[in-house]
Symmetry: C2
């Protein structure tokens, strides 16, 4: 295999959902008519790299020109409920469910001894500050239903207890050992309406 | 969804094997830590775009610095057998099978009335010229086992008949309505050793 082709296959194979064989097919399709697919993908990557950033309020993806993001700037949304997610991409999944009209806060991960992610690596202080400023009556935790998600939920419950806010969690309609980003809209919608008290 | 994120998802969804949902997951993974995945993929795409080209002899992928490609330059390979494939990527699939030691010729497609691909759009004149220069005793057609592949095989059989070369075709060990790029190495190896006379 020509080395640059091999490099491209390896870069593609690192994407979630692409194995070695499908990365190979994708690379060869890109190279077959580079002026169509390859140039468009390169341009889209460069544009995204140059313009996409994380919202300074919720941590979700937005453009550098719109910060805070459209969701944070939308005055019609309910500021009394704050939904805490692990990843910026989880916000898209919850929006797609159509079951939520409050605000968001992305932690940028979850507590994980295995990956050496501690409380200081997450946006937990920003969360406490947002809740501390008042106006929020409920914090809805939309976290993974695995041990690390449970530990993160427990930690946040303790962190926010002094602030007197109600902390809830998505109903366990989610399948075990999975994450928000993998759930279908209906499952997410049911889990939002059936959310339970935390701790 | 932020427009540059949406553009990136659409560019990724055009790759074979990636649907809308998996393209979305891939895009969000790229943006989550752009200095890791996104920059590496952009660099690999740019390198491949700048350095990869099609071999002037066989039409397979090679680098601009090595033209003719390594397979065409390899004097240990059998110049008496010429394997005709549709796509440059098919050459990789046949090489992986380990069942072939001859030369290659990529047509860059197959005859297809539906996609308005006629004989002039394929590297058929270059094929006739290569065979006409002598030294080739057998042309092995490694084409799709669908109607368009059959039509292309028939056309090449007629085209090369005046040149007195033996034209063979891969044994029908290949599943129907599929292509060389989708076959596993063993199936390809068996199909190469069981090849049959054409027309």
């Amino acid at each position: 295999m020509v080395p640059p082709v091999d490099n491209l296959i390896r870069a593609l194979a690192k994407l979630p959902g692409l194995g070695r064989r499908s990365a190979e097919r994708a690379a060869l399709a890109l190279l077959r008519k580079p002026e169509l697919l390859l140039d468009a993908l390169t341009a889209a990557l460069q544009e995204a790299r140059a313009t996409v950033c994380c919202c300074s309020v919720c941590g979700g993806f937005t453009s550098r020109e719109q910060n805070p993001c459209a969701l944070c700037a939308d005055t019609s949304r309910d500021g009394a409920v704050l939904c805490v997610v692990e990843e910026p991409s989880d916000i898209f999944a919850i929006e797609r469910s159509g079951g939520y009209r409050g605000r968001y806060h992305a932690l940028m991960g979850k507590l994980s001894p295995a990956r050496q992610t501690g409380p200081a690596d997450l946006r937990l202080r920003a969360l406490a500050e947002r809740v501390g400023r008042g106006g929020v009556t409920e914090v809805l935790l939309a976290l993974s239903t695995d041990m690390e998600g449970d530990a993160t939920a427990g930690y946040i419950g303790e962190l926010l207890r002094p602030l007197g806010v109600r902390v809830t969690r998505l109903a366990f309609g989610l399948p075990a050992d999975s994450g928000v980003g993998y759930s279908d809209p209906l499952t997410l919608k049911r889990a939002i309406s059936g959310r339970i008290a935390c701790g």
